[in-house]
């Protein structure tokens, strides 16, 4: 497979980028590490004529305990022991993305904005053309849920759930200025699955902000996949909590890899604030989360199995994140 020709732009500041955005009005994609975008381009998935590379926009680089630049490479974060210690769920998630080679190029921004996946979508042009294109690219129907006019492709980024349980916020820059919103609001839960982000046209992810209050929580990210490396998540469960006297507070739980967007389950974890998270509670919570998620049959593992694994993974993630001796 090969790439069609495109024009490459390399702005060196956010302002320059916004000037390009106005000029190219919608006929472009941002290029970060390219590990997600370029394979999709090779399959002629929603190809644009222009790419705006972000590697020279200095403001987007670098990372600290407070802030992860959108262009920070996953491999760099992976090597930061302070970050790993303060945000253990993120640490797990970083290790689980793709392979070391992909992580050397892949970025934080690209990972949060990674294209959703479906086995009717991640196929060559020929394959898709021979079946009939689907809603998500070039077509007008869904092969997974034909009755509905929406897309159920699966959000398959590993970092999002871990950052959700770290109460992360994202800083965005658009033609009409900057804003900062909770990470959860980056994903459009009311969209049709094609529109699945709340980004305004041309809006750029500048950085992820990690609140001090989230540092040092005990946490875990567990990922379901067929092989222990390489594979995208078929389910990803992130948990975090602070523990005092055998009680959990600031309990957070987020699930990715199961639906069109990653989500937090505050309505289910809220009632458990201050509890000891004993085995029975974990089991009940796992089952409640499993009832709430709705995977469809568009990835390798069957939805029924993925759903059953939700309860197992929720329970295990929390059990593993408990301090020694807790949960009794």
């Amino acid at each position: 497979m090969h790439l069609d020709p495109f024009e490459l732009h390399r702005p060196s500041s956010v302002e320059e980028t916004m000037a390009l955005v106005r000029e190219l009005s919608g006929r472009f994609d941002y290029l970060a590490g390219g590990t997600d975008l370029l394979p999709n381009y090779k399959m002629h998935l929603n190809v644009k004529g222009h790419l705006v590379a972000l590697d020279r926009v200095g403001e987007l680089g670098g990372h600290s305990l407070d802030r992860l630049g959108a262009m920070a490479r996953l491999a760099d974060l992976e090597r930061d022991s302070d970050l790993r210690r303060e945000f253990p769920a993120l640490s797990d998630a970083l290790d689980s993305v793709a392979t070391p080679l992909v992580r050397a190029s892949g970025t934080v921004g690209g990972n949060l904005l990674v294209e959703t996946r479906c086995f009717f979508f991640n196929q060559s042009y020929f394959w898709r053309a021979s079946l009939g294109f689907c809603l998500k690219a070039d077509g007008d129907r869904c092969h997974v849920v034909p009755q509905k006019e929406r897309c159920y492709a699966t959000f398959s980024g590993d970092l999002a759930p871990a950052l959700l349980v770290s109460d992360a916020e994202v800083e965005l820059a658009g033609p009409s200025g900057r804003r900062r919103v909770p990470l959860a609001e980056l994903y459009d839960a009311s969209g049709d699955g094609i529109r699945r982000l709340t980004l305004a046209p041309g809006e750029l992810l500048v950085a992820v902000h990690l609140p001090r209050s989230a540092r040092g929580r005990r946490g875990r990210y567990l990922k379901l996949r067929v092989r222990p490396s390489f594979d995208f998540p078929e389910l990803g469960v992130a948990v975090a909590a602070r523990w005092q006297d055998g009680r959990a507070t600031e309990l957070r739980l987020a699930v990715g890899g199961a639906e069109t967007f990653p989500r937090r389950f505050d309505e289910l974890t809220g009632p458990l604030e201050g509890s000891a998270l004993d085995d029975a509670e974990l089991r009940a919570l796992g089952e409640a989360v499993a009832r709430a998620v709705r995977p469809v049959h568009n990835t390798f593992l069957l939805p029924d199995y993925r759903r059953r694994m939700v309860s197992v993974y929720v329970r295990r993630a929390l059990a593993e994140a408990r301090p020694p001796g807790a949960g009794a």
């Binding site: 060559s124 053309a129 199995y305 694994m309 197992v312």
Partner: protein, 746 residues
């Protein structure tokens, strides 16, 4: 034992070994294939006009073949392009070439296809939900039928104290050679030539010439470095199209598959359903019935490919007093069946070995002792009446049994240890010839076959020469030639390179040494040695430089040339047992017993290989590092077949997981430490008693893993792969034996 790096290692690491992707020629065009979007359909039209309107594009379709070839002289049963009916998914319908790859792909997309879709058949069990029955052999869906019988089977079953009936299912698996198919064709001055990445240059010559209607001597095939074959590069796949495009354009044409196309179009093994009935009495098997339904894809009817061969592996290396075996290869709208490292043998061994274990358990016998009680040994007779030659499998199984016992003594909860047995016969009858040339400074092996990665050509054949002549390997060089000058050989497949071609090489060396001895005037044994930088011939009487032994008449050949041939005889089976179709005699008797230790996550069903041991009868090890690498590679490949690999086809004949991301071969994370042991001394037919080793290492793996999973969990799984989902489902059901009706589990 030498542990020096492989002679091709540096070339490959430096990127200096040219592979298919590196093929280039001045003025070359890039080719692309137009594949059928449907698995089955009536062709209304293949309109090439829009493609041809693009600048620099050459396009060929069915109607051009006769014109280009000066008449339709090729094999009528397999024209390059179909004219009326598309019979399998991704069948090529046209080919295009253009000055750039992008333009070629654009041209391929511009070809307008009008095809009326017909109902396609993609599941063998939808054709014959039960069993073909009396009329079966005459069904238009049957490509091949085999039937053989020994003894009074019905009576033996009636006499049995217990009859165990089971059904096993296995999916299609892909070879996943690192390198996709690629070739470069040229047609100039009436000479057709193609450089291609193949396991068999002569096979490609025969195949492509027959498809196009050329005489074999009109076509020249040159092999090149091959990035793995595993059976996928055994026959012409893209070469005829590249040749047609080169003819039509008058330019060299390079045609290469993308990896996705490799999955879609490549020939590989397909699913099968196996029914096994075993009757036992007094702890012994008294009757067996084997029934095989094999997906043959769109293979040609009557051309026998696998049913008869596979079915032998379903009887396995176990003595059976009376049996009936029957198999059908069923036509479906998938691409034609192709080879995959020991085609179907791992799947057959999975079924047979799991079944043997089940039978043993039901009668309260130890599964290994039960096998040993029925296992052939040297001098015993096979199910088809062949005398068994030197055979190390019983010793390998004993060794595996000891290893399993040692591991079991350390076993922790959640782990299981299993044993799998795999039988194989190497050098499947294909022959070859060899030519060697001795110069004052080197010994050259002239060779059409290329090194395909296993080391069998570059290391294996050199090791044979080294061992026989005494010459160090750095003085032995392989000189690759094309089919116009190389000695004929069948190809690098069937575990035959060292065994069969190696024998031809050995004979050439014998001829060379006796000529040298004659010139030296000695009757005794001679060796080749290096002294003062020159090759000398040494005998009891002293030594002499080769330089002084060469005659003026040797000069034109560049040295002293000698040839050897080997067309192995095949054994004989008792033909009176065969009712229909062909069954095969074995050439020699090789095999392995493997031990797997797994841990199984009881909730997720995830199976993890913890450690692995492989005990192999190879007759004689010719090159230890290569032999070991073969076993390790085979085990890794077998782990894929056991746990994660499965070609997934949709109901309308589409391959869903046609990518390296979705078709899951093992990564290093899944590969356990692998301990390899060879049992030597059970002499095979190859040089110094060697038996082949390319295929045997993959055979016992799924069986060993399944047996270990069973020990760890109690789940008796009858379908591959043993995916986490499938294991979890079995555990959830608490199922410890297959559903009595043999119904499907997915």
């Amino acid at each position: 034992m030498s542990l020096s790096p492989r002679p091709d290692a540096e070339l490959k690491v430096r990127g200096q070994a040219g592979f298919g992707m590196d093929l280039e020629a001045p003025g070359m065009l890039w080719g692309a294939l137009v594949l059928s979007p449907v698995a089955h359909g009536r062709i209304r039209s293949v309109d090439l006009s829009a493609a041809r309107a693009l600048p620099g594009v050459t396009a060929v379709g069915a109607s051009d073949v006769g014109v280009l070839m000066g008449g339709l002289r090729g094999d009528a049963e397999r024209p390059p392009f179909p004219t009326e009916e598309v019979v399998h998914a991704y069948q090529p319908l046209a080919a295009v070439a253009a000055p750039s790859l992008a333009r070629a792909r654009e041209a391929a997309r511009a070809v307008r296809l009008t095809i009326d879709t017909l109902t396609s058949v993609t599941e063998i069990e939808s054709v014959f939900p039960d069993w073909p029955g009396a009329e079966g052999a005459r069904s238009s869906h049957v490509l091949a039928h085999v039937l053989a019988r020994r003894g009074e089977v019905e009576e033996a079953f009636a006499d049995a104290e217990l009859v165990v009936r089971e059904t096993y299912r296995t999916p299609g698996v892909h070879q996943v050679a690192l390198e996709p198919h690629a070739c470069l064709a040229e047609v100039a001055d009436g000479r057709w030539s193609v450089r291609t990445t193949t396991q068999t240059p002569f096979g490609i010559r025969e195949d492509a010439a027959s498809i196009l209607g050329l005489a074999e001597k009109e076509l020249l095939v040159e092999g090149m470095w091959v990035g793995g074959g595993f059976g996928g590069k055994n026959s012409a796949l893209i070469e005829p199209y590249a040749l047609l495009l080169a003819k039509a354009s008058g330019r060299p044409v390079r045609l290469a598959l993308t990896y996705r196309e490799e999955f879609l179009l490549g020939r590989t093994t397909l699913p099968m359903v196996v029914r096994l009935d075993t009757g036992v009495r007094n702890g012994r098997i008294v009757a067996r019935r084997v029934r095989l339904l094999l997906d043959g894809g769109a293979s040609l009817p009557g051309r026998d490919f696998a049913a008869g061969y596979s079915i032998g592996f379903l009887l396995g290396p176990y003595a059976t007093e009376s049996f009936e075996v029957e198999g059908y290869a069923v036509r479906t709208n998938r691409p034609p069946f192709g080879a995959h490292r020991a085609p179907l043998a791992p799947q057959c061994a999975f079924a047979l070995e799991s079944h043997m274990e089940e039978v043993a358990r039901r009668i309260g016998a130890d599964p290994v002792e039960f096998r040993l009680a029925h296992l052939w040994s040297e001098g015993s007779t096979t199910s088809f009446g062949q005398k068994v030659g030197p055979f190390g499998l019983p010793a390998a199984l004993r060794a595996a049994q000891r290893r399993a016992a040692a591991w079991r003594a350390e076993r922790v909860p959640g782990h299981g240890i299993g044993i799998g047995v795999g039988f194989w016969s190497t050098s499947v009858g294909a022959g070859g010839e060899a030519r060697v040339r001795l110069t004052p400074t080197e010994l050259v092996l002239q060779q059409g076959e290329r090194e395909i990665g296993s080391g069998s050509v570059l290391v294996g054949l050199s090791a044979v020469v080294e061992r026989r002549t005494g010459l160090p390997r750095e003085r032995i060089r392989v000189d690759y030639q094309d089919t116009s000058t190389a000695p004929f050989d069948s190809g690098v497949f069937g575990s035959r390179t060292v065994g069969a071609l190696g024998t031809a090489v050995l004979r050439a060396i014998e001829a060379l040494l006796s000529e040298v001895a004659r010139r030296l005037g000695t009757e005794g044994e001679v060796r080749l040695v290096v002294e003062a930088g020159e090759i000398h011939v040494r005998s009891e009487t002293g030594s002499k430089p080769v330089r002084e032994l060469l005659r003026p008449s040797d000069r034109s050949a560049g040295g002293l040339v000698a040839e050897g041939r080997h067309y192995p005889p095949s054994g004989k089976i008792d033909a009176s047992l065969v009712v229909d179709g062909s069954f095969y005699a074995y050439h020699d008797f090789a095999g392995a017993a493997h031990v797997a230790e797994v841990s199984v996550d009881p909730e997720t069903g995830t199976v993890r290989l913890e450690r692995y041991a492989a005990f192999h009868d190879v007759g004689r090890v010719v090159d230890w590092p290569s032999a070991r690498a073969q076993v390790e590679g085979g085990v890794v490949m077998g782990i894929g077949s056991a746990l994660t690999e499965e070609a997934i086809w949709s109901g309308d004949g589409r391959l869903v997981n046609a990518s390296l991301l979705d078709y899951r071969i093992p990564t290093l994370g899944e590969v356990p430490p692998i301990d390899v042991e060879f049992l030597e001394g059970f002499e095979g037919a190859g040089p110094f008693g060697a038996k082949g080793l390319g295929e045997p290492p993959i055979i016992p793996v799924p069986a060993a893993v399944a047996s270990a999973v069973r020990e760890a969990t109690g789940a008796h799984l009858t379908e591959l792969p043993l995916s986490a989902e499938r294991v979890a489902r079995a555990l959830k059901r608490g199922r410890t034996s297959p559903s009595p009706d043999g119904s499907r589990d997915r």
